[in-house]
């Protein structure tokens, strides 16, 4: 059977976090009554003209630099012509042949293997409005109503090279890209709400082939899960088509998440002639070196740099560091917690372990996590100092999830303080030795197992609160 190689390129649209729209001064605020954040420009009223929001250019430069792109000082806008009711001018202002950024890359790491994914270009453009359908879906609705509140919200489109070879690589690329967009503070990156959107160009070719196969463009991928499932489905679909002697058609398909399928969108194909030409209502952008260099100087720490710093400054293993930096909020939580913690690896263990498990379970993000970084640090410190055993620490953590109280206070409240008082422990040691003469004989005969039994007995008596290290030490001394 023929083996196939999967070829994937991603086109990612990110809504920029500006206060006003790309080409008019309307608010970009999300939600609200339809058609309340609109003006003659974004409604496409006769005679209205666009004027470019400077912040859009600033953000595009910032992302371009973060993605290792060449910033093109001379870039310009074009009109992309197509009719659709959510597009108020029936053309979209975009950038065609002279985008603001080109030739960048992102390095991904899968199972310890580094791979560089090329970025072809980044360009600036405007979002369309929204269709609210009268029925359950577009196909079952007799009418729709158009809301232009989102029309004109600035977007950047980041186009990758067809460098990915598996769904997992695509996921890793998108995760990295999302982290960079968060770190550079240009986008909310809420895939469910559509502030970060992803289309995938997918093709397959027989192993050894030199030319890519015909690609399908998959739209409507609004989660990482959807991206992975859609790629896996689409690859199988294309294999089936080819193996049945058919040909893959170049087309746009949409991901149907409920049914786990990609579906052809013939209607969007019908007029694929966008008739791009230079937007005569806007003048070209001509960036001076000083602007680009200022943005470069002001670039925040990026995930890769942060990962290196966590490894160097705190001695975290690469695995830990990479997971922590993947989310800006997680990395910020770590940085905050570690300020007060005596054990950075301890903080990392908590974040990667119980904290992540809890967040996943609740389906929330770390920014919604109730436990403050300072309290988590305190919990780490109590363990480090031997006040809490790891078992008891989990108990305290469970309480903290109910109410964000200081762990020290909780330890007291619950009476969980470890007993490290020598006299008290000595009393338990003596009692236990007296009760278990046979074990003492065994110990003296060199049977190491006996000591474990005795420690267990003492811990039971102390209800788990005796300091296990001290118990062991004092027990040995007593029996020598």
């Amino acid at each position: 059977m023929t083996k196939y190689i999967t070829v994937i390129g991603l086109e990612v649209h990110a809504e920029l976090k500006t206060k006003s729209k790309a080409f008019c001064s309307c608010s970009t605020e999300f939600g609200g009554t339809p058609n309340t954040h609109v003006c003659p420009v974004c409604l496409g009223m006769p005679g209205a003209l666009p004027s470019l929001n400077k912040q859009v250019v600033e953000f595009a430069i910032r992302v371009g630099l973060a993605l290792n792109c060449e910033i093109k000082p001379y870039n310009k806008f074009d009109r992309k012509n197509y009719f659709y009711p959510d597009l108020s001018k029936n053309y979209q202002i975009s950038q065609f042949d002279k985008p603001i950024c080109e030739h960048g890359h992102i390095d991904i790491n899968l199972d310890g293997v580094e791979k560089r994914i090329g970025i072809t270009r980044i360009h600036m453009e405007e979002d369309a409005g929204k269709l609210n359908h009268s029925g359950a879906s577009i196909s079952t609705s007799d009418s729709s109503s158009v809301d232009y509140n989102r029309a004109g919200v600035p977007l950047i489109e980041i186009v990758s090279e067809p460098d990915m070879r598996s769904a997992e690589e695509a996921r890793a690329y998108l995760e990295n890209l999302k982290a960079i967009l968060e770190y550079t503070d240009v986008c909310d990156c809420k895939m469910q709400e559509g502030s970060l959107r992803c289309d995938a160009n997918i093709s397959i070719m027989p192993e050894g082939a030199t030319e890519f196969g015909t690609r399908a463009e998959i739209k409507n991928l609004n989660s990482f899960r959807a991206l992975v499932r859609a790629i896996e489905y689409e690859v199988e679909r294309q294999k089936e088509v080819i193996e049945k002697g058919g040909k893959v058609v170049q087309e746009t398909r949409t991901w149907d998440d409920a049914n786990g399928k990609t579906l052809s969108m013939r209607s969007k194909e019908e007029a694929h002639d966008y008739r791009y030409f230079a937007e005569p209502d806007l003048v070209p952008v001509d960036l001076d070196e000083a602007w680009i260099e200022r943005v470069r100087a002001e670039l925040p720490e990026l995930p890769a740099q942060r990962q290196a710093r966590l490894m160097e400054q705190f001695g975290l293993p690469k695995y830990d560091a990479s997971i922590i930096v993947a989310s800006k909020a997680m990395a910020e939580y770590f940085d905050e917690a570690v300020k007060n913690a005596q054990d950075a690896k301890g903080v990392s263990n908590w974040l990667l372990g119980d904290v992540s498990a809890y967040l996943n379970n609740e389906g929330i993000s770390i920014s919604e996590f109730k436990v403050s970084p300072a309290h988590l640090a305190e919990l780490v410190n109590l363990t480090k100092e031997g006040v809490l055993s790891s078992k008891l620490a989990k108990k305290v953590f469970a309480e903290m999830l109910k109410e964000d109280k200081a762990p020290k206070a909780l330890v007291k409240e619950l009476g969980l303080e470890q007993v490290s008082d020598e006299g008290a422990i000595m009393k338990l040691v003596e009692e236990t030795i007296a009760e278990n003469p046979q074990s003492v004989i065994d110990f003296k005969a060199g049977k190491d197992r006996a000591i474990g039994f005795l420690v267990g007995q003492i811990m039971k008596k102390s209800k788990g609160k005796a300091n296990p290290g001290m118990v062991q030490k004092m027990l040995k001394e007593k029996m020598q």
Partner: protein
């Protein structure tokens, strides 16, 4: 003399001296409109009630001794492709026959700030696509010099309104000659400023890289006065120039001594009516008498101007007019079962034949496979046309040409689209290069006015105003009033 025969600067003096009130003046203009509008059809919409309210406000200010701008209380007309808040703006199209704008164009804001009076919206070729004002959904405008003739276009209503005494000043828009050519056919002064001098915000776009708003008036002084109000940087129009606006009335001095006037030989060849040519040659002599130096120049790519224009302008128009889809405003076919069908039917029924033809032409030249052969090639030739002017202006300060190769022709004259397009050869190159150009009256052929075009360097409106003013003051053509002869057979 009748009030409607006076100029804005003359009327301003009368208002300030309290010889006349703005209400009286405004009423006089509406009386004149009542008298002649049935024959001329210069207006699409009149706004008497608001005009009189505004006039009364100005009168109150004059009574209170306030100092007012020259245009305060002076009634004018606005081409119907310029957005006026609350006042119907149709572009003379069925598509917008019920459209009430929710905002003012930048020039309207400026004119309102000057307390001027808007009598109404003037007729035009549908969406400014034409040069005869015959394609209006609201009927053709007739030339007040001979009602059987076209007034030119596309700002035919704005020019005819001046000639017929139905407005003291008007605004037009000029994409390939749409101010200058009707001004010439109606014996008026019309100026297309440098591209970017006047904000286009609120002027319904035809071809964005060529469109420019400008005044049509009875004399050069009024043109300078209106320019003073409407020019200047507007942050809503990225292409408006951030340069200081001079007081254009300061340029109105009678002096052309030593001024080098270039005559491009390509504008005087075949295609020009010999009688028109003779009138232009008389004007050239006059300039020589006045002390100007005449130099022959060449603009070698002139013969390609029309063809490149009829590629570039429709291309831009095909996108500019895409927004007229029946979704948010304008005409909608209510029977259509789906949105795509609704859009297609609304556009087909809402646009006239010439507009549909140009949209399709523009779509074609931009479409995949034809872009390079047509659109890009035209844009390259545009570069050559621009360079022609740059070189010519090494040898001269202004360029003098006929505004149109002909005078106003009969309305029912049978010409195919291409023949009509060719008549724009004298005005189009100016838009292609973004230059300022003015048309002023310089003679008559068979009782119809002849216009002379003066073209200036980028942002050098002052020199063409000075040259125009000097000629005007030395001649009487601008003082002849249109007879309203002939018949309107509509």
């Amino acid at each position: 003399m009748k009030l409607y025969e006076l100029t804005a600067h003359e009327l301003h003096d009368k208002l300030v001296n309290k010889e006349l009130s703005s209400v009286e003046l405004t009423n006089a203009l509406y009386a004149r409109i009542d008298e002649v509008e049935a024959k001329v059809n210069a207006y699409v919409t009149l706004d008497k009630e608001n005009a009189l309210l505004q006039a009364a406000k100005v009168d109150a200010k004059i009574a209170a001794g306030e100092k007012l701008p020259v245009l305060a209380g002076i009634p004018g007309g606005i081409k119907d492709n310029i957005s006026t808040l609350g006042l119907r703006t149709t572009c003379s199209s069925k598509m917008l026959s019920n459209f009430i704008p929710v905002y003012d164009a930048h020039v309207i804001e400026k004119l309102r700030a000057d307390e001027t009076i808007f009598l109404g919206k003037t007729n035009m070729d549908e969406f400014a696509m034409g040069s005869a004002t015959t394609s209006s959904y609201f009927g053709a405008t007739h030339n007040p010099w001979n009602l059987d003739c076209v007034p030119g276009g596309s700002s035919g209503g704005s020019a005819a309104a001046i000639a017929a005494g139905e407005a003291i000043w008007t605004l037009g828009s000029d994409t390939g000659g749409s101010i200058r050519q009707p001004a010439s056919y109606n014996g008026c002064v019309g100026i297309k400023p440098t591209y970017g001098r006047v904000s286009r915000y609120g002027c319904v776009a035809f071809a964005s890289s060529l469109d420019q708003i400008g005044p049509i008036t009875k004399d050069v002084t009024d043109a300078a006065i209106v320019l003073n109000t409407i020019c200047g940087k507007d942050e809503h129009d990225a292409t408006s120039l951030n340069v200081e606006v001079p007081d254009f009335t300061k340029a109105l001095v009678q002096d052309v001594k030593g001024l080098r006037i270039g005559l491009p030989k390509e504008y005087f060849g075949e295609g020009i009516d010999p009688k028109v040519k003779a009138e232009i040659e008389k004007a050239v002599k006059k300039y020589q008498e006045l002390g100007a130096e005449i130099v022959e120049i060449s603009l070698p790519h002139t013969e390609y101007a029309v063809v490149t224009y009829y590629i570039i302008a429709p291309a831009e128009a095909s996108a500019n007019l895409a927004r007229f889809d029946g979704v948010r405003y304008g005409y909608r076919n209510m029977e259509a079962k789906s949105a795509p069908e609704m859009v297609t039917m609304s556009r087909t029924e809402g646009f006239g034949a010439e507009v549909r033809r140009r949209i399709m032409l523009g779509t074609y030249v931009l479409s995949s496979g034809y872009y390079d052969a047509y659109y890009n090639k035209a844009m390259q030739i545009r570069t050559l046309i621009r360079r022609d002017f740059e070189e010519a202006f090494q040898k001269c300060d202004v360029i003098l040409t006929p505004t149109s190769p002909v005078v106003a022709y009969p309305i029912d004259g049978k010409m195919d689209p291409l023949q009509i397009y060719m008549l724009d050869v004298t005005t189009i190159p100016v838009n292609m290069a973004g230059l300022p150009g003015i048309s002023i009256p310089c003679g008559f052929v068979d009782g119809m006015p002849v216009g002379m075009q003066l073209i200036g360097k980028i942002l050098d409106e002052e020199t063409i105003l000075r040259a125009a003013y000097t000629f005007e003051q030395a001649t009487e053509y601008h003082k002849v009033f249109a007879p309203l002869g002939g018949n309107n057979n509509d």
